[in-house]
């Protein structure tokens, strides 16, 4: 047992890539916020990264089977916390996403990602057959649907969709009959126009803007247009740190949080983009590698859940920056300024290490 806890057995290449991405994030936060009211964001980020590493070690050291055993408790507490958030959370920019506790604001929906990963892994690893039946689909749909619905109410469409991404990846890995897959696609396709009236105005606007950003260049399309200009202005080599005019003169909105990659692309250019996207590629591939070497199905599902979630975040956030995806307001993992997302990502990496530490167990 002690060898599970040995620090030498951690995934060091995973950790190295993670820390390089974090460091580039801190630099970009500094560049995007110096001289503004957010100018202390970069050292706060450093503190959060330190705390995140601690959380990672904590999550890695408790055997993941123990964690899976407590999924019921985690799940129920998370649902209650999400319920409290929706009805009594702190309202910022028109949505209730935070719970204040001890002077800090926590974003429960970030930690719920972890719980969803654990729950899906536990459910799928307990399947007796090597495919997901219609009854399982319905049960999983309800189990994931509840937190998804609560987070949508906040409203935070982007984060709620990450739970669906985790579930989707899990189901596809567990095995699915073609006609079930077709049925899911059909239901999803039909529910989209039905869901349209239930979307908030700003969510509809974001989707419309995604289709045609130039329809309202100074209003709803503003963020995307300015982001694309910033990225394009960077060119091959970039303008250099602290010298991107779109970023520094604030034409680029929320340049240290959701649009941090746009600021990075302006100041570091296509070369910087290739380097950082390469880092993320290595990160996700390394997590997938841990899934391949996992000692059991539950470990595999845990790693793949984390990989699917990070890939979804990357696709939606980075895609938004270049206008290939609608604006959903989900952060870029490890780079965007903000504690909750960093903590949840580090805890997920803790899960991955947890699985890795126990790969020779059986």
């Amino acid at each position: 047992m002690p060898r599970y806890r040995s620090i030498r057995d951690l995934d060091w290449s995973l950790l190295a890539v993670t820390l390089v991405i974090c460091a580039l994030g801190v630099l970009q936060i500094y560049s995007a916020t110096h001289g503004t009211k957010f100018e202390d964001a970069w050292w706060k980020q450093i503190v959060w990264i330190g705390l995140g590493l601690g959380l990672m070690w904590l999550v890695a050291s408790i055997d993941y089977h123990t964690l899976l055993g407590q999924v019921g408790f985690f799940y129920v507490s998370t649902i209650i916390a999400l319920g409290i958030t929706v009805f009594a959370g702190t309202k910022i920019f028109g949505s209730r996403r935070w719970i204040s506790f001890g002077g800090m604001n926590f974003q429960i929906s970030e930690f719920a990602k972890l719980v969803v990963i654990l729950m899906v892994a536990r459910y799928l690893s307990e399947l007796k057959r090597d495919e997901v039946g219609i009854g399982d689909l319905l049960k999983l749909g309800v189990l994931v649907g509840i937190p998804t619905f609560l987070v949508m109410l906040q409203p935070d469409l982007g984060t709620s969709l990450t739970y669906v991404a985790i579930l989707g990846a899990g189901i596809l890995l567990a095995g699915l009959r073609w006609h079930h897959l077709a049925a899911i696609a059909l239901v999803a396709g039909l529910s989209l126009p039905l869901a349209w009236p239930f979307l908030n105005d700003y969510q509809k606007a974001r989707l419309e803007t995604f289709v045609n950003p130039d329809a309202d260049p100074k209003g709803r399309g503003y963020q995307v247009i300015q982001s694309r200009i910033a990225v394009g202005h960077g060119g091959v080599w970039g303008t250099g740190a602290t010298r991107g005019t779109q970023t520094q003169l604030r034409f680029l909105p929320v340049a240290h949080t959701d649009f941090i990659f746009s600021a990075f692309a302006e100041e570091q250019g296509f070369v910087g983009v290739v380097v950082v996207l390469g880092m993320y590629f290595l990160l996700i591939m390394q997590i997938v590698h841990n899934a391949q070497t996992a000692p059991d199905r539950s470990g595999m599902y845990l790693c793949m859940g984390v990989a699917a979630l990070l890939l979804f975040h990357l696709l939606v956030n980075v895609g938004m920056v270049v206008g290939s995806m609608p604006v959903t307001g989900i952060p870029l993992p490890l780079m965007s300024s903000g504690g909750s997302n960093l903590f949840s990502v580090f805890m997920m990496l803790g899960l991955v290490n947890n699985v890795r530490l126990r790969r020779f167990a059986s």
Binding site: V274, P295, L314, S324
Partner: protein, 634 residues
């Protein structure tokens, strides 16, 4: 790190290795999904290639376009408005100046219509009017901001400064501009005019084609007449701005060229006296130097305050426009009135010069005379009356006879030489023609022959004849200096002017008429109220009837409203006149009682100032009385 799966084994090869931990059962054949994980890996590669292609498109393929857009974001060209030229009086003191004022603009590019209501409330604007303005500008180009309030108060300024951030009202912009200041309020308002935003109709004319919406242009009076001269050339600055349009850095700056100053012939001291004298009356005053045509003073009442026009609301505008007494009418050049008895000196000179009259001939005035089967009355019974007495007592019967002898066409010929019945050509917009009737005129306009009875009315300045106060001052002024007429003008000329018309009159004939006018004031005539000790004031009174005697008898209210206009036209000194003043007081009935004292005040001020001119520090209380605000000097 392994990207390729080691064992692409499909599911279903099945197995149920069951592991046990913490009382739970887990299936530990983790390798069952390796094939699907491979598919997932390909998906990862696809996602990254998709993302990279987006960056390649923007950063490599479209770099130029996006850089240009980024530059356009941060570099703005800000106009530097050129200050408008000042207006000075003949002595160089400032009559019209500029002062710094703040205007709030709405940027059309960031404007949200739902913000209009809170903005209107905070800035105390009329919402429907604001919406109309916005709708009007929406037809034009998007980059033109909409000025919504000028002359911001400190509170307005504080509101705009604290709410123009991107999250509140990003459309708010502040413009510091030089605004027109008329320190003496309504003094000479009709002469100076006012400025305002160029209107849509004006933009479509050649005169204003070079302006764009929101520009300030002269609308009235000299501001309009000399708009091109007074308008400077705006400069511009290229600056780096941030998203709130705050300036971070100036890249390039091009100075504005101020408009040229305008020096007037108006003497502000005289103007102030004339304005004060006309307070509470309706009518006009014109004072000219007959030797040059320089206008020394010009008043029209009721007047307006040009300072308030820039911030006038539509309702206030309508009140001004619909005022029955037409305060926007410059009566000195646009009001046309029957000259009444002030026309008699012209009839006299026409008779003497044409040889139809001699100054010794007398007419017996019995108070009434019959002409062409109709009785014509005189205001008194003068008995045997010669030309001199005819002018001094303003005997109508004398002039009925004279007019009949001279004939309408000869009268018209002399009246026209002296400048009556046609535009004087003064440098103000909108001057009226007036009317000097003749047989030709009647045939041309009414297709009817001239009846001799009409001449009888015209010879005492009634009937069809109509003049403006300026025309009368010009006419009598030219007569007083021996029959020379100089173009009336308001802006100082560089060189001494040449006369526009010459009468080539016999000086003895001129002297006869001038002596008569001297008698009007100084020999117990109708204009005694204009007399000044030590100054040989000469002049002529007039009362111009506006409705017939019969109608006046039957309708007392109308008779009061349309009571006779009182005229006085005077000049001084008798020999070598320097100044001529024409005054009309609407419904003033007798010129001798109402208009003559005003003429006296002005002449008195003129000669007083002339004698004091040698003193080192001349003070003029009347002018100071009208100086409500200090004139900021820059």
């Amino acid at each position: 790190m392994a990207i390729e799966p080691e064992h692409p084994k499909e599911e279903g090869s099945s197995s149920s290795h069951l592991g046990s931990h913490s009382g739970l059962t887990f299936r530990d054949d983790a390798r069952f999904a390796l094939g699907r994980i491979t598919v997932f890996q390909y998906a990862i590669v696809a996602v990254f290639l998709f993302l990279l292609s987006g960056f390649w498109y923007l950063q490599v393929y479209n770099h130029e376009t996006n850089s240009e857009l980024a530059e356009r974001n941060r570099i703005k060209t800000v106009p530097v408005p050129a200050p408008r030229g000042k207006i000075l009086d003949r002595n160089g003191s400032i009559i019209v100046n500029n002062h710094s004022s703040y205007t709030v603009l709405l940027s059309q590019e960031t404007l949200k219509l739902e913000h209009l209501a809170p903005i209107a409330m905070a800035l105390n604007l009329d919402l429907p009017e604001l919406e109309a303005t916005v709708a009007k500008f929406a037809k034009g180009p998007k980059y033109v901001p909409i000025p919504i309030k000028t002359e911001l108060s400190a509170a307005d300024l504080a509101f705009v400064e604290s709410h123009r951030d991107p999250n509140t009202f990003p459309e708010l912009e502040i413009l510091e501009a030089q605004k027109r200041l008329y320190p003496r309020d309504n003094v000479a308002a009709h002469v100076l005019g006012y400025v305002g935003q160029v209107s849509e109709a004006e933009l479509n004319t050649a005169e204003f084609a070079k302006y764009s919406q929101g520009d300030m242009v002269g609308k009235f009076g000299l501001e309009r007449q000399y708009n091109d001269l007074l308008t400077g050339i705006d400069g511009q600055r290229r600056v780096v701005v941030d998203v709130s349009q705050r300036e971070r850095e100036v890249l390039e700056s091009q100075e504005a060229i101020p408009g040229k100053n305008l020096q007037l012939t108006i003497d502000m001291d005289l103007q102030a006296v004339a304005d004060l004298a006309m307070d509470g009356r309706r009518g006009a005053v014109v004072a000219l130097d007959p030797r040059t045509g320089e206008v020394l003073a010009m008043v029209s009442r009721p007047a307006f305050d040009p300072n308030v026009f820039a911030r006038l609301r539509q309702a206030d505008w309508n009140a001004v426009i619909n005022d029955p007494y037409k305060p926007m009418l410059n009566r000195a050049i646009q009001g046309t009135y029957a000259p009444g008895s002030t026309f008699k000196p012209i009839v006299a000179i026409a008779g003497l010069e044409s040889g139809m009259l001699s100054d010794t001939e007398t007419v017996n005035c019995t108070g009434v005379a019959n002409w062409y089967g109709r009785p014509f009355h005189c205001h008194s019974t003068h008995g045997a009356t010669d030309l001199h007495r005819g002018i001094v007592q303003s005997c109508d019967v004398y002039f009925y006879k004279a007019g009949d002898k001279i004939g309408i066409d000869t009268i018209a010929q002399y009246a026209q030489i002296s400048g009556l019945g046609e535009k004087t050509g003064i440098d103000l917009p909108g001057e009226a023609d007036g009317l000097m009737p003749s047989t030709k005129w009647k045939l041309r306009t009414q297709r009817e022959r001239w009846y001799p009875g009409e001449t009888i009315s015209v010879s005492i300045g009634q009937g069809a004849v109509e003049v403006t106060p300026l025309q009368l001052a010009l006419s009598i002024g030219g007569l007083s200096i021996g029959g020379k007429w100089f173009q009336p003008h308001l802006v100082k000329l560089a060189a001494a002017p040449e006369p526009k018309h010459m009468g080539n009159w016999n000086p003895l004939n001129v002297a006869s008429v001038v002596n008569g006018m001297y008698g009007v004031v100084n020999e117990g005539g109708t204009g005694s109220a204009a007399a000044i000790a030590g100054v040989t004031v000469s002049g002529k009174t007039g009362s111009a009837q506006r409705i017939s005697n019969d109608l006046a008898k039957s309708n007392a209210a109308l008779a009061k409203e349309l009571a006779d206009n009182g005229w006085f036209v005077g000049f001084a000194p008798r020999d070598n006149p320097e100044i001529v003043v024409a005054v009309i007081v609407e419904a003033g009935i007798h010129g001798g009682q109402n208009a003559a004292p005003i003429t006296r005040d002005i002449l008195e001020a003129y000669f007083e100032k002339k004698t004091k001119a040698s003193l080192p520090n001349p003070t003029n209380l009347a002018a100071l009385l009208h100086l409500k605000r200090p004139t900021p000097d820059q």
